[in-house]
Chain length 329, copies 2
């Protein structure tokens, strides 16, 4: 039994830099036609030079893979002429409320001060990708941030706003309130609840931001994804950290899923009896919502056991050691 | 400035076994007049032999410290003649709902099957100490277990039931519903919320069961402790794990507070302007609720900086590296 996925896209990916980039990039570029590349490097990608340099670094590493890196800028107030000049080179601008996640200390504090930039983005048709968490109690952050999404959606009705890696029933319910709102959902948030992270032993390799929420929240994510909701796209948020940054006294947030995401998603969609909707989630919805013309690239999965390695280099992947019924051909 | 605490008691303590016991015992027995010793060893303390052996092991290690180990049995259905014979050697029986916490796999499954034992304990005046968590979603476990406390309190009105290491506003509110209910509160649950554990980096050394809850829950604990509530006693739940069991892929639950608990509590009570109530929390309430006659032992604290070590042997303590204004004389 075979399964062909046409031009799979990962709409939220961390490639990091230097050796880590060299190592993880082929684990995405071999299996996807494109990915949205997060800009939260040690030095955020917030200038034309940095963007060009980072894009070239990526493209040079995966020339033969038929892979398009959809670049993003790190949000800050930008002038209109800069954005007009750079808009063809980016898929969108990523906004991190300050201090919320890995290397986001330079994110936006007072969001409303950024309103000029939002207006320009709206005029230039540049999407806004958002890490939507407030600074409140860890489990309330996403729900509290819905007020900000509401403010954005109402004040900038032509701005395409993507709620990245949503984790709550409240976010799912918010999704349909405004036409200009889309969402990405990760693989791991379809599988995990907080019980998996801290309900037994504490599991650093299952720790990410936003943290997995209740089983009830996870079920809402599954429902909206497996129903084939047209505003919901796959974004892995695959975020590699070396083991020493995970198994220590202060464990970094991020789950590495890139090399196993498609076989694991096929397994999940099959279990839910909706394998025919996988193509929508991992490609078609993104093509429609972002108006993309992705590289033509067919990825074949076959029904053959895939034993997920315990390690990829220095990284412990999601589902390490588990066996999936689907593997790459 | 000096502060004398008369016969401080730790009403919930894990001493472990073998070398770990040798190492951690003096860090309690030097500073407390007595402690309630948890029975969840690799082989639970559930027979006269095991109880006698464990008690002797402890007593031999701290002969010169003026320290009373208040022993507990691991709950299971016990016959009346056994309990009648052993009652003078124990302070109570500790009940773990099966599988909830470290080495509690042998705890009680169907609680109501144990009702004969509860009746005998009630008749013999043997307290019931309870790890009160259900098997539900990790953050709901304590609140869900209140149904079980209610069942116990109503069906065994003369049984002294101690809600161990409470962490929620709901448990605080439940406390006053029945005369036969008491509670212990740890040091760390007065200081931590889930934000500290997983709100930034993930912190294995701040991970314990029950896991710290919301700031709102922590504030309810502080309120009931600092108000001097007579049913609330200090129980450290100090639970040492070597660093390799904490900084790894599956981190054990437990926070080691024994050697710094009293100076840290003095600091907290002073900050809250109720230093005069510290004696009640760390001794008098337990003496009254359990009807104890503790060993006479005055512990002196002085206003001198206490830099908490980064390590005690192989254990990272709570507040490692922090400086407290109070230290032991």
């Amino acid at each position: 039994m075979e399964l062909t996925i046409i031009s799979p896209l990962d709409m939220h990916l961390h490639l990091r830099e230097a050796e880590m980039l060299d190592f993880v990039l082929p684990l995405t570029s071999s299996y996807f036609a494109g990915a949205v590349i997060m800009p939260n490097l040690q030095q955020p990608v917030d200038s034309k030079d940095r963007l060009t340099h980072y894009r070239e670094r990526i493209v040079n590493q995966c020339k033969d893979h038929g892979f398009e890196p959809y670049m993003t800028l790190f949000f800050k107030p930008y002038p209109a002429n800069f954005l007009d000049e750079i808009k063809e080179q980016i898929i969108g601008i990523k906004l991190y409320p300050a201090g919320i996640t890995t290397q986001s200390e330079q994110g936006v504090g007072e969001l409303k001060e950024a309103r000029d930039t939002f207006t320009i983005m709206e005029d230039l048709n540049i999407p806004l990708l958002v890490h939507g968490e407030s600074h409140g109690y860890v489990l309330d952050r996403e729900e509290e941030f819905l007020q900000t999404y509401l403010w954005l959606a109402e004040n900038f009705p032509k701005l395409h706003i993507i709620m990245e890696h949503i984790t709550t029933r409240a976010a799912v319910e918010f999704l349909d309130k405004y036409d200009n709102i889309s969402a990405t959902v990760t693989l791991h948030h379809l599988l995990l609840s907080l019980d998996d992270v801290i309900g037994g032993l504490m599991k650093p390799h299952l720790f990410c931001k936003p943290v997995a929420k209740s089983p009830r929240d996870r079920d809402a994510l599954k429902q909206v994804v497996f129903s084939g909701h047209e505003k919901v796209m796959f974004g892995s948020d695959s975020a590699p950290h070396p083991i020493h940054a995970k198994e220590c006294a202060g464990c970094a947030a991020g789950i590495f899923t890139a090399p196993l995401a498609l076989p694991a998603l096929a397994t999940l969609f099959e279990q839910e009896g909706c394998l025919e909707k996988l193509q929508l989630f991992v490609s078609d919805h993104a093509v429609n919502r972002y108006q993309l013309q992705p590289i033509k690239k067919n990825i074949q999965l076959v029904r053959k056991p895939f034993v997920i390695p315990e390690k990829y280099g220095t990284i412990t992947p999601f589902l390490a050691g588990k066996t999936l019924p689907w593997s790459y051909a």
